[in-house]
């Protein structure tokens, strides 16, 4: 009995997060190593490859994430864990949007952040599809004043992740 490391999506999300935060680190360290002017040159030079990378990433994500999610016993646990992992993206997006609104943010940096937000929008779209699928479970559950229903969220939050569903 152990917690399975079957969350391939979690790993993918983590990779994308590392990629995006890695860019931020490169930007900050190059600014401290070189002058701001030289960093801007690097950023302008990197804009096209970055754009291509993001376009490719969005293309991949569109293929990976279906527009509609169908739940079954086999995928439920994995998809629910994926859904829980999405919360880390909320914080990232909020921070990115905050940087975008700052006046001192350069045009080229805004371009990079915008591209990241566009990519994240796809992830959020998938989250909405997941949310809708989970809500469907609740809406399909009849309620009664005596035999009260338990919501999907309540059941999920109370369970021990170490156990596998038997059905």
């Amino acid at each position: 009995m152990y917690i399975e490391s079957n969350q391939r999506f979690a790993q993918r999300s983590e990779d994308v997060r590392l990629l995006l935060t890695g860019f931020k680190d490169i930007y900050q360290s190059s600014k401290s190593l070189f002058s701001s002017w030289l960093t801007s040159v690097f950023l302008y030079l990197g804009a096209l490859p970055f754009l291509l990378l993001m376009v490719w990433l969005r293309f991949r994500l569109k293929k990976i994430y279906p527009a509609k999610v169908f739940l079954n016993t086999k995928n439920y646990k994995e998809l629910r864990s994926i859904y829980d992992n999405f919360t880390m993206w909320d914080e990232f997006t909020q921070r990115a949007k905050r940087v975008l609104t700052e006046e001192r943010t350069s045009y080229i940096l805004k371009f990079y952040i915008n591209e990241c937000i566009k990519t994240l929008a796809l992830i959020f779209k998938y989250r909405e599809a997941l949310q809708e699928a989970f809500l469907t479970l609740d809406s399909a559950t009849p309620n009664d004043r005596i035999l009260k229903k338990r919501t999907e969220t309540e059941l999920w939050e109370n369970r021990n992740l170490a156990y596998e569903f038997k059905i």
Binding site: M1, L71, N72, T73, Y76, K77, L137, A140, T141, P142, N143, D144, R145, I146, L147, K148, K149, R150, E152, L155, N158, R159, N160, Y163, F165, K166, I167
Partner: protein, 175 residues
């Protein structure tokens, strides 16, 4: 924990006799590692509702057979076996809904009993909300797994009236 269970055996079923409300009572049995035999009674009601009860065979003549504790410290395996029996019935009857009451131990109140709290936790862990919707009645320590595949109209209300008839579940009027 809760991954090992005992091999069980289906013995027989008997049809309801007069005062008993269920359609049939299925009897299953298994022997634990301390060589004690358990009896599992699965009462089949209308609308494919199955109520699971179990007791130690040695307690079969006791009025409190469902309330007594064995003190063999083997509850996890015994309960897991009952869950396997539920799955056995589900495979046999795909429209089956399951219910149980966490019986109170001697001297314990019937409300939110210790058994109920354990069973409820197990239902969360082993029965996903994909095939079953989960319902509870805490004051009577009752739990119901309602099969989503069963499209009988107002099924929950019908099951509630079964619970009202045969278990200590109050009617709407008392609320």
């Amino acid at each position: 924990m809760f991954d090992k269970y005992y091999e069980f055996r289906y013995i027989l079923y008997k049809k309801s006799e007069g005062e008993f409300p269920y359609l049939r009572e299925h009897k299953l049995t298994f022997v634990c590692r301390y060589n004690h035999r358990y009896i599992v009674n699965v009462q089949e009601f209308e609308y494919h509702v199955y109520i699971i009860k179990f007791h130690l065979k040695d307690h079969r003549h006791s009025e409190n057979k469902y309330n007594l504790q064995t003190d063999y410290h083997d509850a996890t395996r015994v309960i897991t076996t009952c869950i396997e029996i539920m799955l056995y019935f589900y495979r046999k009857f795909p429209l089956a809904s399951f219910g149980f009451i966490g019986a109170n131990s001697v001297g314990e109140s019937k409300k939110n009993t210790k058994r109920y709290r354990i069973y409820r936790r197990l239902m969360e862990n082993f029965f996903s909300p994909i095939h079953f919707s989960h319902h509870y009645y805490e004051d009577g320590s009752a739990y119901l797994l309602l099969n989503r595949a069963n499209t009988t109209e107002n099924l929950l209300e019908k099951i509630r009236s079964l619970f009202i008839k045969f278990y200590d579940v109050p009617t709407d009027k008392t609320f």
